[in-house]
């Protein structure tokens, strides 16, 4: 055997050093042989047709929200869209309380859900309203007057538009609606206006003969008053 000289061992460094040490030739050959070569596809991927963009996952939660909103819209006669600005919790609770007294429910809506629901329903003209935070005031009765009164006391909620009894109204429309008298009063007024003319027909028809009769009475009285009539006045002429 051949032992390395003691000087070699003293001078040479260990296997693991802090400085770079050239690898043994055999190790160099082994490493060169076992180098990693990444797989090269026959066709570069940029020559292939673009893959389809990932389809939007149908969100179950969004579906539930949409179903809820649709049910609410179907069940209510009055739907008012308002812009909601930041408000204190107590004020919100008070507002809810006052509106609940008139059977008006406050619903917070997300714009995506609202847009998806409205695009399919007949309220498509309300679509541009759904920007920024909105709330819906829904009610099975069209109580515009009370709603306006409550909202006037709350400056942070701005009424934008409403759909009452399948009629889309702007803010002015809602105010005009609030100023209208109730349905029974309107009906009574219409009936009175329509029956005004027929009620006058009777008196109109009798006006001519009544006028003539009055004139003749007057004449008789004057003749009687003059004392002695020459001849009785002719009978009432044909009308």
């Amino acid at each position: 055997g051949w032992l390395p000289a003691l000087q070699l061992l003293r001078r040479g460094s260990k296997a693991v050093t802090r400085h770079w040490k050239a690898a043994h030739f055999q190790r160099q050959k082994l490493l060169a042989l076992t180098e990693y070569l990444p797989p090269r596809p026959a066709l570069p991927p940029r020559c292939l047709p673009r893959p389809a963009p990932p389809q939007q996952q149908e969100d179950g939660y969004a579906r539930v929200l949409r179903a809820q909103l649709e049910a609410t819209l179907r069940a209510s006669r009055m739907v008012a869209v308002c812009q909601y600005n930041a408000m204190a919790e107590e004020d919100m609770a008070t507002l809810r309380h006052f509106l609940r007294r008139h059977n008006i429910h406050v619903k917070f809506v997300l714009n995506e859900v609202a847009r998806a629901v409205l695009a399919q329903s007949r309220l498509q003209n309300l679509l541009p309203l759904f920007v920024c935070r909105n709330i819906l005031l829904v009610s099975p009765e069209p109580r515009a007057r009370e709603m306006l009164r409550v909202l006037r006391g709350v400056p942070q909620v701005n009424l934008l538009g409403a759909c009452i009894d399948d009629t889309i109204l702007s803010r002015q429309g809602v105010e005009n609606l609030a100023r209208l008298p109730s349905l029974e009063v309107c009906q009574g007024q219409t009936v009175a206006a329509l029956s005004l003319l027929p009620s006058q027909t009777c008196s109109l028809l009798q006006r001519g003969p009544a006028h003539l009769a009055a004139l003749l009475e007057q004449h008789i009285r004057r003749l009687r008053g003059a004392g002695g009539a020459a001849e009785p006045p002719p009978g009432p002429g044909t009308a």
Binding site: A86, N125, V131, C132, P155, L159, R171
Partner: protein, 111 residues
């Protein structure tokens, strides 16, 4: 949505703000966002005397923000082609300028 309200506006020199818009128009988004950010807690806390009014119309007019300052100046911003951030920074810069003027005036009065 809070990126525009990183601009903190000190509303002390402002007397009233009137925001007029027509919600059925397509160009009112920035004005509505402006109104929303004005109603933020912090901005409302800087001046409780400031009256903010929202005027909702349906005549196809342009969205307008009308700010009246305490010393009588008026700032009218037509929001049809402005972003919320621009409107807020404009308002903030003018408020700060007026605040500085007030401080200088009060300093001159009480040396």
């Amino acid at each position: 949505e809070k990126m525009a309200s990183k601009v903190s506006v000190v509303l002390r020199p402002v007397k009233s703000i009137v925001v007029r818009f027509c919600p059925f128009e397509p160009n009112v988004e920035s004005t509505r966002k402006f109104l929303q950010s004005i109603y933020h807690k912090k901005i409302q806390a800087t001046n409780t005397n400031c009256e903010v009014t929202a005027d909702v119309r349906h005549d196809g007019s342009e969205p307008v923000v009308d700010v009246t300052f305490a010393d009588g100046d008026r700032l009218i911003m037509k929001g049809a082609h402005l972003t919320t951030g621009e409107m807020l920074t404009a308002l903030a810069s003018r408020c700060n300028a007026k605040d500085l003027k007030e401080e200088q005036k009060s300093k001159k009065k009480n040396p």
